[in-house]
Structures are given as structure tokens and as C-alpha cells.
């Protein structure tokens, strides 16, 4: 399945230069639609707002269901291409990442809303592959795995032949190489790309449908299969079908091999969670391989000039923090109940968002590992305070320092890889952390979770817990506010310091930065360290706010959602993080909009997803960027500058 998903990724990448993070999620939707159709004879439509489902046939056979879903998938592919990625052909890499994250959020929320029955999915998943097993050299191998592998090989061969021998395949290759050239020769690159999307989506859907009996079907887990699939596609250089197939099968076999090994090896320490090695280790290998293949500085010509969101200059380090302090104090004193909680969640989210502003906004390094780093700090706080009895200000400080160190570790791949590839590497890092560390019972209390003791300073309770209307406690609100104000000032200071200038130089052009005497490695690692420290503080606050932490508290998906939000708000500026905090799920906006039952979060995810796509296309500068530009333009009109525009 990994191989097949990887193939779809390669196909869409070759057709339109987009790494589609939502590929597995869309595949999962198609698979859900298939099994629902088999069971109830109704086809579930993917657009919120339209009628849920339409009856197709009374009792569809395997074949009718497959064909229907293939058509559905192909249609989805074409719609996605036309509405989302075609308008983004010339957008910066980060914009395309954000759009595909938006699509991922939307699709996932959709699957949750349309198929999730409380307590899990309700339908039977029966295999359509031959069952049974054979023994090869003392190892039991299931026949269906063989068939799956065979199908993957067949799909690869078909794609390869399609690209290699047909006029259409040649045309797609030509269009990918030079859109203008293809236009001139009378080809329609657009239609070709749409066709590739249709095929890729259908392929992804088929892969998930066929593999569901083995791998299971779950809106969250299946979507995250994107990580190994991306890894396979990357190892295949995002270009070769056969290499991707080999890498995909290799990852699958490596995982199987490790799981057998982990079951038999007694000497493995207890803290390693079951399945953790299997899920985590291959990514470490891939991370290492990708990093090894990269280069310390981009070569001449390879670095396409990226357009970034503006990072407006900072004139004063105290005005914005003062504003935050005033507004926050007012809010904490006047709001109560839901609104106060919303404000607190917003402030915590803003701290987390600051970490994205530092690493992605200032230095241009896309990191999807921030929530994992926040999680390390959160769990460390719980561990240090609860287990070792270290008192309040010290436990979180140590935890944040720990997070900073983890951040440096997460930043190592960034020394040699960049852009989209780095986004994938950090995603792999986050997944590994989740599998190996967060699922370890020794460190996080496993599924049962772990409780975080209240923060107390000199006998003063700064915790959030209270009964009735007193929850959330105002004292905790002020703890968060003070932290946010301080960090806002720190972030502004970083932006206007020597360090911040060096970061922006690296973001603009690594080669030019090196020529100016900047040590690009130091710049990147220091940014990762600072940003991890911010994320760490966010993680600690989140721990105190939740009072209970579990594996679910820091999932990769949250990194994606937050990054996307900051992008929409304006990732180049500190103010962007604050705006993003207000917009965050569960934050002040959610509170103001009111809670519409227990599915609000999912609807908000879906709406956020759409908002991301729309703003990636129509407002690539972000909210703050747009405001800044507007102000700038007004100033230009009123002031007579000595220098004319270029």
C-alpha cells in the first residue's frame, strides 16, 4: 500500500509539481465511501453542504462498487486539481504545502463527520483478496500480501509503460518539463495534469480499499500513511516509478522485519513501546538517507527564487507586547466561562504559533515537528514535577531547555535539505517521536495518560482547575498572558537583532548569506533551537491547561493545522502568530462563534481547511502581510520618496 500511495504522489508531482500531503486522506475517503456503498448502497458525497449521500443501487456487487468509487475518485482528483492546485502552479512552495494541508484537514474532518459513528466505524470490512498463507523457508507469508505486492508491481508497470510509450505520457512529461513549450506544441498541459490527478487519486483510493482488510481503516491513521508513502516517493527521487515501488516495498518489509525482531528480542528495554520500533525506525533510516543525499548549500541555479511572505521590520520591541498585555488583561477580567477558556487557548496557541514564525517565517525552514517538540516539553514537565518533585518554575524551565535540545536535533536535516523535502523530513521526525517516545508507557503513561501537577509559586496556586464558574481560573490566565507577553517581546527582539537579520538573510538566499560571512548552519540550528524553546513553552502551558496529557495531546496533525493557520495569518511577523492564536481551534473565535454541539471541532477543521486553500490562492501574503502592504502603500502615496519604484 505504501508503494501504491507513493506512486500516486510521484504521478501528481510529475504532473503538476505538487507534493500532495492529502493523498492518503483522499484515498481513505474513497475507501470509506466504497465500504459504505457496499454495505448500504449509498454513495457518500465529499462536499459539505450538499446532501450527504445518494442511493445508487440496492445491493451493489464488488464490481459496481469498485467502478463507482473509481469514478468518484477520479472526479475528486480532477476537482482538486482544478480548484486547488492549478491556481497554485506558480505559488511558492510553502503556499502549496499549506493548500495541501488544507485539503488534508478538510478531507479528514469530512471523513470524521460523514462516517464516524460514536465509538468507531461501524461497518464490516471484508477482504476481496484470496486468503490463506504459505510457508517459505520457515516464515509464514499470507497470500493476500503477495497479491497486493503483485498489484503494486502491475500498477507500476502500467504507469511506467503509460509514461514511456504513449503519446499522452510523453505529453505529460513534456508539460511537466516546460509548460510553455507544451502549450506551443499544441498540447493542453492543464488537461494532462487533470488526467494525472484523476489516475493518481483513483490509484490511491484503490490502494486503501484493497489494503484496508490488512491495515485497517481509520480516518486519522490512514491519512498518516502519507508519511511512509512520502518517504518512498522521496527515496524514488519523486520521479521514478520503479524506484518508488522498490522503496515502498522495502519500507513495508523493513517494518515487518523489525516487528518480528522486536517480538523475539527480549533484551530490548521495556520503555520502547510495542510497535514503536516498527513505526519509528524506518523513518530514522530515511531521515539519515535524505540528509546524506542533500548538500550543505544549494548549487547555482538549483535554488529557484522563492517568494516569501513579508517579514516587516520591527520598530519597537515594547508596543506589541504592551498591546497584548492590555488586551489580555481586559479580556481575562471581563470574560468568563467559555470565552475566558477560549482566550486562554488562544494565548497558548499564539505561543505555539510563535515557534513557527521563528523557524518558518524568519528562516524559511518548514518544520512540521513543532507539536512533537511541544509534547516533549509537556511530558517532561509532568515527569519532572510529578515523578521527581521538582517545583514549579524549575520543572518547566528544564523541560523547555530539553525541548530546545530536541529542536536542534530536529533541525539537523535542515542543514542539508530544504523546502518540500525538509517539510517531509520534519514530518518523519515528528512521527518517529510520536511512535517511539509518546507511545512509551514509561515516559508518557501510555494510553492511560499522565497527570500534570498544578503550578504553584510561593504557595500561590496558578493552576487552571476550579469548580463551577471559577473555571478556568483567572490566575492561570495571567500566567499564560505574562508568558505570552514576554515571548512576544523576545520574538521581536530576535527579529531586530543581529541574529534575526542573519536569519532573514538565510531565508532570502543561502548562498548570498554565506557570501556575506554568515554561517548558515549556525543560523539554521539557532533558529530551530529558539523555535523549539517557544514550542516547548507552548507545550508546558498546554500541559497545565489540560492537566491531563495523553498520546493524543500532541499529534502531528496539530502541527499541520497550526502551521497552516500561521501562514494564513502571516508567518513573517510576530503579529501573525497572535492573529493565528485567535483563529485557532478551541480559541477565542470558536468561543465567540459559539459551540454547535460536540462536532464543532470537526466542522471548524473542515472550514479551516477550506479557508487555508482559499487564502493560499488569493492572499499568499497572509492577513498581517496584506495589512502591512496596505499601510505601506498608503505611506508611499503620502510621502514623497527620493527613490522611484523599480
Amino acid at each position: 500500500m505504501v508503494a501504491a500511495l507513493g506512486l500516486g504522489l510521484v504521478l501528481t508531482y510529475r504532473a503538476s509539481g505538487v507534493v500532495n500531503f492529502a493523498h492518503a486522506a483522499v484515498g481513505a475517503y474513497v475507501a470509506f465511501a466504497y465500504y459504505e456503498l457496499r454495505q448500504s448502497g449509498e454513495l457518500v458525497l465529499p462536499v459539505l453542504g450538499l446532501p450527504d449521500r445518494i442511493p445508487v443501487v440496492e445491493r451493489p456487487t464488488v464490481l459496481t462498487a469498485l467502478v463507482t468509487c473509481a469514478v468518484l475518485a477520479a472526479a475528486c482528483g480532477i476537482v482538486i486539481h482544478t480548484l486547488v492546485f492549478r491556481p497554485l502552479r506558480h505559488a511558492p512552495a510553502l503556499g502549496r504545502v499549506v493548500a495541501s494541508l488544507g485539503l488534508l484537514l478538510y478531507t479528514q474532518a469530512l471523513v470524521e463527520l460523514r462516517f464516524r459513528v460514536r465509538g468507531g466505524t461501524s461497518f464490516r470490512i471484508d477482504s476481496m483478496l484470496p486468503e490463506g498463507s504459505v510457508r517459505i523457508g520457515g516464515v509464514v507469508v499470507f497470500v493476500d500480501r503477495f497479491v497486493l505486492a503483485g498489484l503494486a508491481v502491475a500498477a507500476t508497470a502500467a504507469l511506467w509503460a503509460w509514461f514511456r510509450f504513449t503519446r499522452l505520457g510523453l505529453a505529460i512529461r513534456a508539460a511537466a518539463a516546460s509548460e510553455k513549450g507544451a502549450l506551443l506544441t499544441g498540447l493542453a498541459p492543464d488537461r494532462l495534469a487533470a488526467l494525472s490527478w484523476a489516475v493518481a487519486t483513483a490509484l490511491g483510493g484503490a490502494a486503501v480499499i484493497l489494503a484496508a482488510p490488512i491495515a485497517g481503516l481509520d480516518p486519522g491513521l490512514t491519512s498518516l500513511l502519507i508519511v511512509p508513502a512520502l518517504a518512498a516517493a522521496l527515496l524514488g527521487g519523486l520521479a521514478g516509478f520503479w524506484a518508488t515501488l522498490a522503496a515502498g516495498l522495502g519500507i513495508g518489509m523493513l517494518q515487518a522485519g523489525i516487528s518480528r525482531f522486536a517480538l523475539t528480542a527480549d533484551w530490548l528495554p521495556d520503555w520502547i513501546p510495542p510497535g514503536g520500533l516498527q513505526q519509528g525506525l524506518p523513518f530514522l533510516v530515511i531521515l539519515a538517507a535524505m540528509t546524506w543525499r542533500g548538500s550543505a548549500l544549494p548549487t547555482r541555479g538549483s535554488e529557484a527564487t522563492e517568494r516569501h511572505q513579508v517579514a516587516p521590520p520591527v520598530r519597537s520591541w515594547w508596543r506589541l507586547p504592551a498591546l497584548v498585555a492590555a488586551a489580555g488583561t481586559l479580556g481575562l477580567l471581563t470574560f468568563s466561562g467559555e470565552w475566558r477558556l477560549g482566550l486562554i487557548v488562544s494565548m497558548v496557541s499564539a505561543v505555539l504559533c510563535l515557534s513557527f514564525v521563528v523557524v518558518t517565517g524568519f528562516v524559511g525552514q518548514i518544520s512540521l515537528a513543532q507539536m512533537a517538540i511541544a509534547g516533549v516539553a509537556g511530558f517532561l514537565t509532568a515527569k519532572l514535577a510529578d515523578g521527581l518533585g521538582i517545583p514549579f518554575p524549575f520543572a518547566p524551565v528544564l523541560a523547555v531547555l530539553g525541548a530546545g535540545a530536541v529542536g536542534v536535533l530536529a533541525g539537523i536535516p535542515a542543514l542539508r535539505i530544504r523546502g518540500m523535502t525538509l517539510a517531509i523530513a520534519t514530518l518523519a521526525f515528528a512521527t518517529t517521536t510520536e511512535e517511539l517516545v509518546f507511545k512509551s508507557t514509561a515516559f508518557t503513561g501510555g494510553l492511560g495518560g499522565t497527570s500534570v501537577p498544578e503550578p504553584r509559586l510561593l504557595g500561590w496556586n496558578l493552576g487552571i482547575q476550579a469548580r463551577g464558574d471559577a473555571y478556568p481560573r483567572v490566575a492561570f490566565g495571567f500566567l499564560v498572558l505574562v508568558t505570552l507577553v514576554a515571548l512576544t517581546a523576545v520574538a521581536l527582539n530576535l527579529r531586530r537583532s543581529e541574529t534575526g537579520r542573519g536569519w532573514l538573510a538565510v531565508r532570502a538566499n543561502e548562498r548570498a548569506a554565506a557570501a556575506a560571512g554568515i554561517d548558515v548552519r549556525v543560523a539554521k540550528l539557532s533558529a530551530f533551537a529558539w523555535s523549539a524553546a517557544f514550542a516547548g513553552v507552548g507545550g508546558v502551558l498546554l500541559a497545565y491547561q489540560r492537566t491531563e496529557l495523553s498520546v493524543q495531546s500532541f499529534v502531528v496533525l496539530q502541527s499541520l493545522a497550526l502551521l497552516a493557520l500561521v501562514y494564513v495569518a502571516g508567518i513573517g511577523s510576530v503579529a501573525g502568530a497572535l492573529v493565528a492564536g485567535l483563529l485557532a481551534v478551541g480559541g477565542l473565535l470558536t468561543a465567540v462563534l459559539g459551540s454547535g454541539g460536540d462536532r464543532t471541532a470537526e466542522y471548524q477543521f473542515a472550514v479551516t481547511g477550506v479557508a487555508l486553500i482559499v487564502s493560499a490562492i488569493h492572499n499568499p501574503q497572509g492577513i498581517v502581510g496584506a495589512l502591512h502592504r496596505w499601510r505601506h502603500r498608503r505611506r508611499d502615496v503620502t510621502a514623497v520618496t527620493g527613490v522611484g519604484p523599480r
Binding site: T299, T305, A514, A515, A529, G572
Partner: protein, 252 residues
């Protein structure tokens, strides 16, 4: 006295030899030119000398071997450069662009900067802005500048760290005649400030006009070296590059 010494410099790209055993010297306080037809390997040579492209051979600056140093260390050792596409840092003002290049932060500086931001080197920045006569542009953003001043700012950024030698990659590309004259005047001032120049450009008038010595590169090999008037008359150079005696070469 020799400032930059390049010995047997060779760059290979997957079997293709882009620069082939080039020996080259730039004397202290001199303006040297490097010319050659498109694809001769001029930019590759600059990349190799400044450490951006792996190369065989030796590079030394004022007797100090630079071979094992990464680009930023070579820059700090006094070997500055500009880029053909300028590559000014778009989100930083002109002044900040220069401040980045003048700063020599230690890695632990990043830790303190969140609490007490270091002010940065204003003296050197002012000096370089005035040396290139672009002081009035200090607060502008690079994207707001016309082409000519942008080129001057790029050179100011290269010299702000007071390098021994600055390598200029086509600084006159896209400039009109008046702007080129301003550039030439600025270049002539650099040796007096203790900065030698290695100038790569297509504008023969500029190169032959300001350079004390000119090197000619063709298909990765050095085919001629000498004072402008000698190189201009060199048979090999005329065939390889000029095709015919230069028409604009007598200007400036």
C-alpha cells in the same frame, strides 16, 4: 605583491570540465578583469574560488591557503563576492543588508539576542555606504531601488566587511551607459580603500577601461593574461571572444 593566487583550479560537473587547470593571480591593490564568451566558466571560477563549488587545485589569499574553508569562512578571511543576480536580502533595508555582512556574530550570540539584541556594526555600514555613495538609500528596501543603485548596494554589501579582495560577477549587467560610468568610478575608488577587485563582465568598455590586468577564459582554460592593451591585441583572444576588434573598447 600577489594577493590572490589560484593554482591549477579545476572544476568538473559529471564528466564535463567547466574550469580546466586555471592559474591566476591578482596583485594587491589592483583591479583585475576576467572575460570570456558565454559558457567559458567565469561564474564557475568565481564559485570555485569562493568555495561554493568543490574544486581541485589551490586558492590562497595573501599567502593563507583557503582550500579547506567553507564559503562563509572564506568571506570572513577577506574574500568577498557579489552575485550576477545581486541577491540582496529582500526583507532587510539597505542598511540591514550591509549590517548582516559586516557582523561577525559568534554562535552563542543567538542566545542572548532574544533578551538584549545586539545593535550591530553601524560604523562599518556607514563607511561602506559612503564609499559607494549610496548613503541616502540606507532605509530603503532593495525592491524599491532602481537597477543602478541596486548594483552599487550589492557591491557595498560585499565590501562592508573590509575584505582584501572582492569578486564582482557581472556588476554592469543591465545597466545603462550613465549607470555604468558611475559604477566604473566607484570601482576605481576601491583600491584606494585597500580592496583589490576581480571583475567579471561582458561590457568590454568597462573591463578594458578600469582594469590593470585582464585574464581571458575560453572553454574553461586561461588563454591570455596581461594589461588591457596587450590582451585586446592578442590573436587568440580576438578569435575566441571578440570575433572582431572591439567597437566600444576605446570608450571610458
Amino acid at each position: 605583491m600577489t594577493l590572490l593566487a589560484v593554482r591549477g583550479l579545476t572544476v568538473r560537473y559529471e564528466g564535463l570540465v567547466a574550469v580546466d587547470g586555471v592559474d591566476l593571480e591578482v596583485p594587491e591593490g589592483a583591479i583585475a578583469g576576467l572575460i570570456g564568451p558565454n559558457g567559458a566558466g567565469k561564474s564557475t571560477l568565481i564559485d570555485a574560488v569562493t568555495g561554493f563549488t568543490p574544486a581541485a587545485g589551490h586558492v590562497s589569499l595573501a599567502g593563507r591557503a583557503l582550500d579547506d574553508l567553507p564559503p562563509h569562512r572564506r568571506a570572513r578571511a577577506g574574500l568577498a563576492r557579489t552575485f550576477q543576480s545581486l541577491e540582496l536580502f529582500d526583507d532587510l533595508t539597505v542598511e540591514e543588508n550591509l549590517a548582516v555582512a559586516a557582523a561577525r556574530p559568534a554562535w552563542w550570540g543567538a542566545l542572548g539576542d532574544g533578551f538584549r539584541p545586539s545593535p550591530g556594526p553601524s560604523g562599518a555600514v556607514r563607511w561602506a555606504l559612503e564609499a559607494l555613495e549610496v548613503a541616502e538609500l540606507a532605509d530603503a528596501l532593495p525592491s524599491e531601488l532602481p537597477n543602478g543603485p541596486r548594483h552599487l548596494v550589492a557591491i557595498a554589501r560585499a565590501v562592508v566587511g573590509r575584505p582584501r579582495l572582492v569578486l564582482l560577477d557581472e556588476p554592469a549587467a543591465g545597466l545603462d551607459e550613465r549607470e555604468t560610468d558611475l559604477l566604473a568610478a566607484a570601482l576605481r575608488r576601491l583600491p584606494d580603500l585597500g580592496i583589490a577587485v576581480l571583475l567579471v563582465d561582458h561590457d568590454m568598455g568597462l573591463v578594458l577601461g578600469v582594469c590593470d590586468v585582464v585574464h581571458v577564459l575560453d572553454v574553461g582554460r586561461l588563454i591570455a593574461s596581461g594589461p588591457p592593451e596587450v590582451v585586446r591585441a592578442d590573436e587568440a583572444v580576438i578569435t575566441a571572444y571578440l570575433g572582431a576588434p572591439p567597437e566600444r573598447g576605446d570608450g571610458t
